[in-house]
Protein backbone atom coordinates (compact mmCIF):
# COMPACT_ATOMS: atom_id res chain seq x y z
CA UNK A 1 0.00 0.00 0.00
CA UNK A 2 1.57 3.25 -1.03
CA UNK A 3 1.14 6.67 0.56
CA UNK A 4 -1.82 7.73 -1.57
CA UNK A 5 -3.76 4.59 -0.72
CA UNK A 6 -3.00 5.06 2.96
CA UNK A 7 -4.23 8.63 2.81
CA UNK A 8 -7.39 7.49 1.07
CA UNK A 9 -8.10 4.81 3.65
CA UNK A 10 -7.34 7.20 6.51
CA UNK A 11 -9.69 9.90 5.27
CA UNK A 12 -12.40 7.32 4.59
CA UNK A 13 -12.04 5.94 8.07
CA UNK A 14 -12.07 9.40 9.63
CA UNK A 15 -15.37 10.24 7.97
CA UNK A 16 -16.93 6.91 8.92
CA UNK A 17 -15.82 7.37 12.50
CA UNK A 18 -17.38 10.82 12.66
CA UNK A 19 -20.64 9.65 11.07
CA UNK A 20 -20.90 6.70 13.44
CA UNK A 21 -20.60 9.07 16.40
CA UNK A 22 -23.64 10.95 15.17
CA UNK A 23 -25.65 7.88 14.19
CA UNK A 24 -25.24 5.99 17.42
CA UNK A 25 -28.54 5.31 19.26
CA UNK A 26 -26.84 5.59 22.68
CA UNK A 27 -25.65 8.87 24.13
CA UNK A 28 -22.00 9.65 24.63
CA UNK A 29 -20.72 7.44 21.85
CA UNK A 30 -17.10 8.01 21.03
CA UNK A 31 -16.98 6.33 17.64
CA UNK A 32 -16.19 2.91 16.20
CA UNK A 33 -13.89 0.72 18.26
CA UNK A 34 -14.15 -2.56 16.44
CA UNK A 35 -15.24 -3.43 12.91
CA UNK A 36 -15.72 -7.15 12.27
CA UNK A 37 -15.92 -8.44 8.73
CA UNK A 38 -15.73 -11.98 7.27
CA UNK A 39 -12.13 -11.66 6.22
CA UNK A 40 -10.60 -9.22 8.72
CA UNK A 41 -11.03 -7.24 11.94
CA UNK A 42 -10.37 -3.55 12.31
CA UNK A 43 -9.57 -2.22 15.79
CA UNK A 44 -9.55 1.52 16.37
CA UNK A 45 -8.14 3.53 19.26
CA UNK A 46 -8.92 7.19 19.75
CA UNK A 47 -6.66 9.36 21.88
CA UNK A 48 -7.85 12.26 24.04
CA UNK A 49 -6.97 14.69 21.29
CA UNK A 50 -8.98 12.87 18.64
CA UNK A 51 -6.06 11.24 16.83
CA UNK A 52 -7.18 7.81 15.71
CA UNK A 53 -5.03 4.73 15.39
CA UNK A 54 -6.47 1.72 13.64
CA UNK A 55 -5.04 -1.70 12.91
CA UNK A 56 -6.34 -4.22 10.41
CA UNK A 57 -5.79 -7.83 11.44
CA UNK A 58 -6.99 -11.38 10.91
CA UNK A 59 -10.35 -12.29 12.40
CA UNK A 60 -10.15 -13.20 16.05
CA UNK A 61 -6.71 -11.78 16.83
CA UNK A 62 -6.39 -11.07 20.52
CA UNK A 63 -4.77 -8.17 22.42
CA UNK A 64 -5.05 -5.62 19.65
CA UNK A 65 -6.11 -2.98 22.17
CA UNK A 66 -2.84 -3.38 24.03
CA UNK A 67 -0.93 -3.19 20.76
CA UNK A 68 -2.71 0.01 19.83
CA UNK A 69 -1.76 1.54 23.18
CA UNK A 70 1.88 0.57 22.60
CA UNK A 71 1.74 2.14 19.16
CA UNK A 72 0.28 5.30 20.68
CA UNK A 73 3.23 5.49 23.06
CA UNK A 74 5.69 4.97 20.22
CA UNK A 75 3.93 7.71 18.26
CA UNK A 76 4.26 10.08 21.20
CA UNK A 77 7.91 9.31 21.66
CA UNK A 78 9.36 9.09 18.19
CA UNK A 79 7.05 11.25 16.14
CA UNK A 80 5.91 14.08 18.40
CA UNK A 81 9.35 14.63 19.90
CA UNK A 82 10.97 14.72 16.49
CA UNK A 83 11.61 18.34 15.46
CA UNK A 84 11.53 17.41 11.78
CA UNK A 85 8.02 16.03 11.76
CA UNK A 86 5.30 18.36 10.57
CA UNK A 87 1.89 17.76 12.06
CA UNK A 88 -0.69 16.06 9.82
CA UNK A 89 1.96 14.93 7.35
CA UNK A 90 2.67 11.23 6.61
CA UNK A 91 5.11 9.91 9.16
CA UNK A 92 8.62 9.42 7.79
CA UNK A 93 10.57 8.90 11.00
CA UNK A 94 13.18 6.18 10.93
CA UNK A 95 13.07 5.53 14.68
CA UNK A 96 9.30 5.20 14.65
CA UNK A 97 9.44 2.59 11.86
CA UNK A 98 12.19 0.60 13.55
CA UNK A 99 10.43 0.50 16.90
CA UNK A 100 7.08 -0.22 15.29
CA UNK A 101 8.40 -3.31 13.50
CA UNK A 102 10.06 -4.47 16.71
CA UNK A 103 6.83 -4.07 18.65
CA UNK A 104 4.84 -5.99 16.06
CA UNK A 105 7.42 -8.77 15.86
CA UNK A 106 7.40 -9.13 19.63
CA UNK A 107 3.64 -9.25 19.57
CA UNK A 108 3.60 -11.81 16.82
CA UNK A 109 6.04 -14.06 18.65
CA UNK A 110 3.97 -13.80 21.81
CA UNK A 111 0.70 -14.57 20.07
CA UNK A 112 1.64 -17.20 17.54
CA UNK A 113 4.81 -18.56 19.04
CA UNK A 114 6.79 -17.93 15.87
Amino acid sequence: MDTNDSLRVASLWYSMHAISQQLSPTNGCSGIELLEVDTFDLHCFQSLTGTKFFVVCETGTQHMEALLKVIYELYMDYVLKNPFYEMEMPIRCELFDINLTTAIQKDRVALLGR
Binding site: D77, Y78, L80, K81, N82, P83, F84, R92, C93, E94, L95, F96, I98
Partner: protein, 194 residues
Protein backbone atom coordinates in the same frame (compact mmCIF):
# COMPACT_ATOMS: atom_id res chain seq x y z
CA UNK B 1 5.87 24.37 68.53
CA UNK B 2 7.06 20.77 68.79
CA UNK B 3 9.05 19.32 65.98
CA UNK B 4 9.82 22.50 64.12
CA UNK B 5 13.40 22.40 62.96
CA UNK B 6 15.41 25.55 63.05
CA UNK B 7 15.90 26.73 59.49
CA UNK B 8 18.73 29.20 59.28
CA UNK B 9 17.54 32.36 57.66
CA UNK B 10 20.09 33.99 55.44
CA UNK B 11 20.11 37.75 55.26
CA UNK B 12 21.77 37.77 51.89
CA UNK B 13 20.64 35.29 49.24
CA UNK B 14 24.24 35.01 48.06
CA UNK B 15 25.22 33.47 51.38
CA UNK B 16 22.85 30.54 50.99
CA UNK B 17 24.68 27.32 50.27
CA UNK B 18 24.41 26.12 46.68
CA UNK B 19 22.02 23.19 46.83
CA UNK B 20 22.31 20.08 44.71
CA UNK B 21 19.12 21.03 42.97
CA UNK B 22 16.60 18.60 41.50
CA UNK B 23 18.50 15.53 40.46
CA UNK B 24 15.91 14.32 38.01
CA UNK B 25 14.08 16.12 35.26
CA UNK B 26 11.39 14.63 33.06
CA UNK B 27 12.94 13.27 29.86
CA UNK B 28 9.78 13.97 27.89
CA UNK B 29 9.75 17.58 29.03
CA UNK B 30 13.34 18.02 27.92
CA UNK B 31 12.71 16.24 24.61
CA UNK B 32 9.81 18.53 23.78
CA UNK B 33 11.79 21.61 24.77
CA UNK B 34 14.78 20.55 22.68
CA UNK B 35 12.55 19.71 19.73
CA UNK B 36 11.04 23.17 19.95
CA UNK B 37 14.52 24.73 20.12
CA UNK B 38 15.49 22.97 16.90
CA UNK B 39 12.24 23.89 15.18
CA UNK B 40 12.54 27.54 16.21
CA UNK B 41 16.06 27.77 14.86
CA UNK B 42 15.01 26.06 11.65
CA UNK B 43 12.66 28.92 10.87
CA UNK B 44 15.40 31.48 11.31
CA UNK B 45 18.14 30.05 9.10
CA UNK B 46 18.58 29.28 5.42
CA UNK B 47 20.82 26.26 5.48
CA UNK B 48 22.02 23.37 7.57
CA UNK B 49 25.42 24.69 8.65
CA UNK B 50 23.80 27.83 10.06
CA UNK B 51 21.38 25.64 12.01
CA UNK B 52 24.29 23.68 13.44
CA UNK B 53 26.06 26.90 14.37
CA UNK B 54 22.99 28.16 16.19
CA UNK B 55 22.60 24.94 18.15
CA UNK B 56 26.28 25.11 19.01
CA UNK B 57 25.91 28.66 20.29
CA UNK B 58 22.99 27.61 22.45
CA UNK B 59 25.13 24.80 23.86
CA UNK B 60 28.07 27.14 24.40
CA UNK B 61 26.05 29.22 26.84
CA UNK B 62 25.08 26.07 28.73
CA UNK B 63 28.69 24.87 28.82
CA UNK B 64 30.02 28.11 30.28
CA UNK B 65 27.53 27.99 33.12
CA UNK B 66 27.97 24.28 33.78
CA UNK B 67 31.71 24.79 34.16
CA UNK B 68 31.27 27.54 36.74
CA UNK B 69 28.67 25.55 38.65
CA UNK B 70 30.59 22.29 38.73
CA UNK B 71 33.90 23.91 39.62
CA UNK B 72 32.27 25.49 42.60
CA UNK B 73 30.04 22.62 43.65
CA UNK B 74 31.95 19.44 42.90
CA UNK B 75 35.57 20.31 42.61
CA UNK B 76 36.01 22.78 45.45
CA UNK B 77 37.06 25.67 43.24
CA UNK B 78 40.10 23.90 41.81
CA UNK B 79 41.05 24.68 38.27
CA UNK B 80 42.18 22.13 35.72
CA UNK B 81 45.40 23.08 34.00
CA UNK B 82 46.30 19.86 32.20
CA UNK B 83 44.74 18.62 29.00
CA UNK B 84 43.93 15.13 30.22
CA UNK B 85 42.52 16.60 33.41
CA UNK B 86 40.01 18.79 31.65
CA UNK B 87 39.11 16.03 29.20
CA UNK B 88 38.36 13.52 31.91
CA UNK B 89 36.41 16.23 33.74
CA UNK B 90 34.22 16.68 30.67
CA UNK B 91 34.00 12.96 30.03
CA UNK B 92 32.89 11.99 33.53
CA UNK B 93 31.68 14.86 35.71
CA UNK B 94 29.99 17.00 33.10
CA UNK B 95 28.36 14.02 31.39
CA UNK B 96 27.22 12.61 34.72
CA UNK B 97 25.57 15.85 35.75
CA UNK B 98 23.96 16.53 32.38
CA UNK B 99 23.02 13.05 31.16
CA UNK B 100 23.07 10.88 34.27
CA UNK B 101 25.94 8.67 33.18
CA UNK B 102 29.57 8.99 32.09
CA UNK B 103 30.31 9.10 28.38
CA UNK B 104 30.98 5.76 26.70
CA UNK B 105 34.57 6.38 25.75
CA UNK B 106 37.31 8.97 25.44
CA UNK B 107 39.92 8.37 22.76
CA UNK B 108 42.93 10.16 21.37
CA UNK B 109 42.89 10.69 17.63
CA UNK B 110 45.39 8.63 15.70
CA UNK B 111 45.99 10.93 12.76
CA UNK B 112 46.55 14.26 14.49
CA UNK B 113 48.09 15.18 17.80
CA UNK B 114 45.45 17.71 18.66
CA UNK B 115 42.35 15.57 18.16
CA UNK B 116 40.38 13.79 20.87
CA UNK B 117 37.06 12.00 20.61
CA UNK B 118 34.27 11.36 23.07
CA UNK B 119 32.00 8.60 21.83
CA UNK B 120 28.49 7.70 22.80
CA UNK B 121 26.22 5.00 21.50
CA UNK B 122 23.33 7.44 21.38
CA UNK B 123 23.26 10.99 22.72
CA UNK B 124 20.39 11.69 25.10
CA UNK B 125 19.33 14.68 23.05
CA UNK B 126 19.07 12.52 19.94
CA UNK B 127 17.06 9.72 21.47
CA UNK B 128 13.76 10.57 19.86
CA UNK B 129 15.03 12.37 16.79
CA UNK B 130 15.15 10.81 13.32
CA UNK B 131 16.98 12.98 10.83
CA UNK B 132 15.20 13.04 7.45
CA UNK B 133 17.26 11.80 4.51
CA UNK B 134 17.44 15.17 2.82
CA UNK B 135 19.23 16.79 5.74
CA UNK B 136 22.35 14.82 5.04
CA UNK B 137 25.04 15.23 7.64
CA UNK B 138 23.09 17.38 10.08
CA UNK B 139 23.50 16.30 13.68
CA UNK B 140 21.42 17.57 16.58
CA UNK B 141 24.39 16.65 18.74
CA UNK B 142 25.77 20.03 17.69
CA UNK B 143 24.07 21.21 20.88
CA UNK B 144 26.20 18.85 22.97
CA UNK B 145 29.28 19.81 20.96
CA UNK B 146 28.50 23.41 21.91
CA UNK B 147 28.29 22.46 25.58
CA UNK B 148 31.71 20.78 25.41
CA UNK B 149 33.12 23.79 23.55
CA UNK B 150 31.72 26.14 26.21
CA UNK B 151 33.31 24.13 29.00
CA UNK B 152 36.69 23.86 27.28
CA UNK B 153 36.98 27.42 26.12
CA UNK B 154 36.01 28.90 29.45
CA UNK B 155 38.49 26.64 31.18
CA UNK B 156 41.28 28.04 29.02
CA UNK B 157 41.52 25.30 26.39
CA UNK B 158 40.22 26.81 23.14
CA UNK B 159 39.04 24.14 20.74
CA UNK B 160 36.85 23.43 17.74
CA UNK B 161 34.23 20.83 18.65
CA UNK B 162 31.94 19.01 16.23
CA UNK B 163 29.55 16.09 16.39
CA UNK B 164 29.58 13.25 13.85
CA UNK B 165 27.80 10.04 13.10
CA UNK B 166 30.12 7.08 12.78
CA UNK B 167 28.53 3.99 11.21
CA UNK B 168 29.22 0.78 13.08
CA UNK B 169 28.86 -2.65 11.49
CA UNK B 170 26.36 -4.83 13.24
CA UNK B 171 24.32 -1.92 14.52
CA UNK B 172 21.50 -0.25 12.69
CA UNK B 173 22.04 3.16 14.21
CA UNK B 174 25.44 4.82 13.86
CA UNK B 175 27.23 5.83 17.04
CA UNK B 176 27.92 9.48 17.79
CA UNK B 177 31.38 10.94 18.18
CA UNK B 178 32.20 14.39 19.52
CA UNK B 179 35.42 15.44 17.87
CA UNK B 180 37.55 17.93 19.82
CA UNK B 181 40.34 19.71 17.99
CA UNK B 182 42.45 21.83 20.31
CA UNK B 183 44.06 25.09 19.24
CA UNK B 184 47.82 25.40 18.72
CA UNK B 185 48.46 27.31 21.91
CA UNK B 186 46.96 24.54 24.04
CA UNK B 187 49.38 21.98 22.68
CA UNK B 188 52.34 24.29 23.04
CA UNK B 189 51.41 25.00 26.63
CA UNK B 190 50.93 21.32 27.30
CA UNK B 191 54.35 20.54 25.86
CA UNK B 192 55.92 23.26 28.00
CA UNK B 193 54.31 21.90 31.14
CA UNK B 194 55.87 18.53 30.37
Amino acid sequence: MIGTGKIKQYANVLDKPLGKGKQEVSLSAFAFLFSELVQYNQTQVDNISELETRLEDAGYAVGARVLELLCHRDKGNRRETRLLGILSFVHSTVWKVLFGKVADSLEKGTEHEDEYMISEKELLVNRFISIPKDMGTFHCGAFVAGIVKGVLENAGFPAVVTAHFVPVEGQQRPRTTILIKFAEEVLRREARLG
